[in-house]
Symmetry: C2
Subunit: 562 residues, 2 copies
């Protein structure tokens, strides 16, 4: 039945808790806000673990003493069903002993490391975010697909370079070897390779992915997180789908009302051509590219040092790269590169430059030139890109970075590029060129949460609350149910308290906490006369109306609400 679990060592857990508490105090003094937040998170976790262990220990002591008192016995429930376990019923007693046994086995009540629950108010923000993003995808003719959360292990192997070690494997319980998906891109490529009749598709996919990375709650780096991908697959004319991906990214960030961001754009062929003409040996190109990719977090001097000391690059070659990666601009940079004496001679670089010229022509038509910048320092880590690459980054606040600075701890919020060879890895008989963008929804969610923290927002959508008022043994229970039923029939979100004798204050508290705009009060004496009280503070309504007209009256109010 219940797996034997090692009883929690209370002394050890208490010591651990005290250690974390000290860390919180220390970080408070140090003034390092990030470290402090992390310590506080750890303290909460330690507190929960300790308290669960204490509960388990108490229950074990109780069980050992032969007591079979039901956990819920003292809860003062008025629900007959809740009371059942304390009755002298053999079945209930059996259930209880199981319960005590389970409790005494010492659950550590927590979610796995690097994962988390989302509470209703957080989910309300998340769902609004996904709805906004989905609306943009649909506006561009996007369709969605679904793929399993785990794939055959072979499908994922050899696609993520060193990061393959972060892949979660399922235990071998007989049958196929499977792993949790690491991203949505490789499953999409596998999907395209399998569905050979689908040669073109604009698809979006919102789903969870898994990485056994070192989690950091503070940086929003989790082991389970959502990815939201948009990809255009198919053989099309140059830069037309690419430009639409940039436009989709700009629309999403605009519609989400993310403040102060910019889309950096570069091209793999320009990057590779640049490395080539600077004199980077062929076998060092990817390593040097990874070093350049760090320029958003590190100064050039540091990156240069890494190139020379760690990657063994000639200092002169590094300095030549340094001249290029400091360049950024728009169409004028395209002209500069087209005329650059070294790049001019590199066919690969010139192909990239011509792509960029066309891309900017299209981005101009799409009215998004003020949102983009051509940045030669953008490299992007993933190996599979073959054409343009882009990344939306938050711009630092103009004021000194304070607690309200949304950019603290947040890197890129959307990124992607062209990858023409990935589908071919699964499929020998055809190539399906792709270009796409992934929205960093977890980072966007962190930003939206901070933006909404100040606002009073509710998780429920309820429009009407039906209150039982006055005194008595039954405060219009049947009448409240009947009215709620009529409101539901009319498609109106309505609630009432599941008590025959609800406390007035408890009902008002619920209405306030959940910002429910309309209230109908039912007093027994009024109801007997066919009258109810309709209230809507927002619209200044406070009126007695005939019971038969109240649904129609509410339908008149609803469109007037903010």
């Amino acid at each position: 039945m219940v797996d034997p679990a090692v009883p929690a060592d209370l002394a050890a857990l208490t010591a651990q808790y005290e250690a974390v508490r000290q860390r919180v105090k220390d970080t408070k003094k140090s003034g390092d806000a990030a470290a402090q937040t992390a310590a506080i998170e750890d303290l909460k976790q330690a507190q929960r673990t300790l308290s669960a262990a204490k509960d388990a220990s108490k229950a074990a002591a109780k069980a050992a003493a032969g007591s079979a008192a039901a956990p819920g016995a003292a809860a003062g429930s008025t629900d007959a069903a809740t009371k059942a376990p304390v009755k002298a019923d053999p079945a209930a007693a059996a259930a209880l002993s199981t319960e005590a046994e389970t409790a005494s086995s010492g659950y550590v009540l927590k979610v796995p490391k690097g994962t988390r629950d989302y509470l209703p108010k957080e989910m309300a923000i998340r769902e609004r975010m996904f709805d906004t993003i989905r609306a943009v995808f649909k506006r561009h003719g996007g369709v969605t697909i679904d793929t399993p959360v785990f794939e055959l292990r072979d499908i994922l192997m050899g696609k993520y370079g060193e990061d393959s070690k972060l892949i979660y494997d399922l235990q071998d319980q007989g049958g196929e070897l499977c792993s949790l998906r690491y991203d949505l891109t490789v499953p999409f490529a596998r999907f395209l390779a399998m569905n050979t009749d689908l040669s073109t598709i604009k698809r979006y996919h919102i789903g969870k992915v898994y990485r056994r990375d070192q989690p950091s709650v503070n940086k929003g780096r989790m082991r389970e997180f959502f990815q939201t991908d948009w990809d255009i697959a198919g053989i099309y004319d140059p830069m037309i789908p690419d430009a639409e991906c940039v436009r989709v990214m700009v629309e999403i960030l605009t519609d989400l009302k993310i403040p102060r961001w910019r889309v950096k754009i570069n091209h793999r062929k320009i990057l590779d051509g640049m490395f080539d003409v600077c004199g980077v040996p062929e076998d060092k190109i990817r390593a040097i590219s990874s070093a350049v990719d760090k320029l958003d977090k590190m100064a050039w001097a540091e990156v240069r040092k890494e190139m020379i000391d760690e990657k063994g690059l000639d200092p002169q070659v590094a300095d030549r790269i340094g001249e290029y990666v400091k360049l950024s601009g728009l169409t004028e940079l395209v002209d500069t590169l087209a005329q650059d004496p070294r790049l001019k001679a590199n066919a690969r670089a010139q192909e990239g430059v011509e792509d960029m010229r066309l891309l900017f022509r299209y981005l101009e038509i799409y009215g998004v030139m003020d949102k983009v910048v051509f940045d030669l320092s953008l490299a992007r880590g993933l190996d599979y890109y073959t054409g343009i690459i882009y990344e939306a980054v938050l711009l630092p606040s103009s004021e000194a970075a304070g607690e309200d600075d949304l950019t603290v701890g947040v890197g890129s919020i959307a990124a992607g590029g062209r990858y023409d060879n990935l589908v071919g890895m699964f499929s020998n008989n055809r190539s399906v060129p792709c270009v796409g963008v992934s929205i960093g929804v977890e980072r966007v969610f962190a930003i939206l949460s901070r933006m909404e923290a100040a606002k009073a927002s509710a998780a429920v959508d309820t429009r009407v609350y039906v209150c039982g008022m006055g005194k008595g043994d039954d405060l219009c229970t049947a009448q409240r149910m009947k009215l709620a039923s009529e409101l539901w029939d009319a498609g109106i979100a309505a609630e009432f308290m599941f008590k025959t004798k609800p406390r007035m204050q408890a009902q008002f508290d619920y209405v306030d906490a959940n910002h429910i705009p309309i209230v109908v009060n039912l007093f027994p004496k009024d109801v007997a006369e066919g009258i109810v009280t309709l209230k809507c503070a927002e619209l200044g309504v406070n009126a007695q109306v005939p019971r038969g007209e109240v649904v129609a009256e509410i339908q008149k109010l609803l469109p007037q609400l903010a």
Copy 2:
């Protein structure tokens, strides 16, 4: 890089394929439609596996012969990026050799057993289904939460009885032992136990769950599938939340337009009391209850046989049970049971009977009496139920069961009940009574798919398609992009073909296949004069309009569309 994979044995796969093909022929003769569908599914899979293995084998032969021809080289692409790999570029050549190596490693292109991909048209049906269900949950003041797809293994152990063997474990890669969730109910109970400040909640959760069951595509039994749960937690007055759960179930099935179904209701206390008064020994109650649960699939005679032969029940006791389980009705059955000489003396049964009396009073108010039936044969498998239990089942068609009979192969489509002790299993200091319902969305999806199969439905929501017409090297590419951009700015879903010289027929085909209602045709000569052609077959529009007015004209048409 790429994990070495055992090269697929073509001969064995071919033999396997032939065997399945024979099975399809055999089942065709036998006339067993279910077996035939299953065989055809298997054949498709065998075909895919074989074809992938053949491709891999060919590629391996090619690679061995030293050929490095790009897989996409013959695709006739007009996209510069696509052509890249065939150029004599060292980097591209390197990428190619990786590709050949990967291909030669012999991918079996498939998803794990018991899982599947969902194509855009299927997803459109699924998303409409989820939207409909979500709207009902919100109408009742529901909020949503999210929990991780995997939980600590200890949390899941000891909750599912024998079915625990179906739980997917994650491999031990260091750290905690985790398992994929088996349902959404146990994680919800764990969530409530952890969030001690949440003593009441109406929550819904739509998420995937995992079971290592024997999959059956035909019966819609998969290893990865969605559950859609609605639960009301909190200490409330008897039967008020329970009645709302039944009402929620009825609203959902009604809004989904599922034809011909009924909600069977029973009560665990009546069931247990009935077994008690019939003389079932205490330790056999759950086993006998499981046997009764099969009455929806088996005749009484068979169930009786199982009770006596397999479970060792006294035949007289079985016959007494037989008298009860054939009873079904509504409030009159409540009266019958209240007066039943044997049950009258059983306190537990009478508690259940009084609950049912109150429930029917409330269901009468909620106007759903024509959708429910009190059925003493309903038992429900899960151990954790403590009060009322219910299950929505499809009613067989009145005509002879034919291919159009939606009930074939589909059992219950929604089910649930009251479980007051589950949260207590995780939490010693409090009890949180719960009642809930789970919508069988995969079965509902199967029904909706069959209902929609006849209808022409599209996966895209696109309202306007912008066509490049006539002849020339560039068919208004910039102008098509500009108009699409203006439509997106106005929040209108619009598409155009990503080609500078699109074929007229290809554009019309896309419009037809995707039921896009409005088309704007751009002819180069008209565009030069500031004129475009606006077409909408549904509204009988076919007019030349000034380019500057076309977005406004479209905005006038949109609300008139069906």
